[in-house]
Symmetry: C2
Subunit: 225 residues, 2 copies
């Protein structure tokens, strides 16, 4: 059975990505990061998702992204609410985050003898992050081959980004078809103290709009406004 | 003053690289990793080197490479001694290590507004590591531009690998010219319990041969045989 490493944040995109990886018949190794994000709730969601979908293993790498700062997701910069049509890349961008995450996935691939990495990035609803674009994915694929012992010995790594061209609504429909339990997922950048989703940050708004467009009900609870 | 991030392991290659970066007039930000390597002595050496050469700042990112295993440098695999002419990539190879290290350097660059990264990899005495080759360096440079907010906004990242074509002897000569105090550096993969270099691992042997070929005396102490 072929093995794959799947980046799993605990959000609905990565949950759907894990479901797609399993449907393609891969033995799936889920990888999450404890990177000093504001809330452990993401890691807890990832654990629930990995277990409910049937990942072969789930590991959490503790890494330090706060050492440099520079993002609303790791620093004390306030998360923006109800951002509409602001140009440019948002303050929730974490410098080089997906590059770091894929580097770790690549390391685990080498140890497992795997050649496939799944990442739930998305170019349509992508909030303006540069490391969610097709050009980034293909550049990392090329790097993988020259960067590794496995690559030198003939492995052709493949970075699968099956959500790249899907709308959020389409992702939600696909996840539903594959049996993803979205009540286990977490998307909010800025939950309330009792860990309810805020309903107002970029991530919550994309999620809510996605469920609406998909004609489905989002099963998680949101903070009362 | 232009800023650069310099990967600093505490060995003689990275110490010489920092000296070269400073000589080129960069304000230098040294970056080391606490990655569960067997001995903290590397981090201590990096601190001494950064301070003695005049890095503007030195940060140590705590990252978890043991989470996957797969290397004699992070696992319980014995470090080979007096390895001679064995083909292939040695067990001291750490999967995707330089990819991970450069990803972090890239993140710090974005926060600092820097476009230059210095890394002390070397293709001649390179011990067979795939992520010390020119093809790796240029693939990472290309990735950097597409991976980052800074790249999207026009920054052209440059990965400087000034030692790439130098022999170990040449590196030692160059470092000496630039005032690197090699007594502060640490190279051994497998020091004794009282932290003397073993004199027998790949790294010690390359170092000793380098000093011999350079006609210089290695100022560090080695374990008595």
């Amino acid at each position: 059975m072929k093995r794959a490493v799947v980046l799993l944040s605990g959000g609905l995109d990565s949950a759907t990505t894990l479901a797609l990886c399993l449907r393609e018949g891969f033995e799936s190794y889920a990888l999450s990061f404890d990177y000093g994000q504001r809330h452990d709730v993401e890691i807890l969601a990832a654990r629930r998702v990995a277990s409910s979908l049937g990942a072969r293993e789930h590991r959490v790498a503790k890494i330090d992204l706060r050492v440099f700062g520079g993002s609303a997701l790791t620093d004390e910069i306030p998360v923006p609410k109800n951002r509409t049509d602001q140009p440019g890349i948002p303050v929730t961008y974490v410098p080089a985050r997906n590059t770091i995450f894929l580097s770790y996935a690549l390391a685990w691939c080498e140890v497992l003898g795997a050649a496939d990495i799944f990442i739930g990035v998305n170019a349509i609803d992508y909030s303006g992050y540069p490391d969610c674009r097709p050009a980034f994915i293909s550049a990392f694929e090329e790097l993988s081959t020259v960067a590794t012992k496995a690559g030198v010995e003939g492995t052709r790594f493949r970075i699968h980004a099956p959500l790249l061209e899907m709308s959020k609504a389409k992702i939600i429909q696909k996840g539903s078809e594959l049996g993803v339990d979205f009540s286990l997922t977490h998307s909010c950048y800025d939950p309330t103290p009792d860990l309810l989703a805020c309903g107002e940050c970029d991530s919550c708004r994309l999620r809510l709009e996605g469920f609406r467009a998909a004609g489905l009900v989002d099963p998680i609870r949101y903070a009362a406004k």
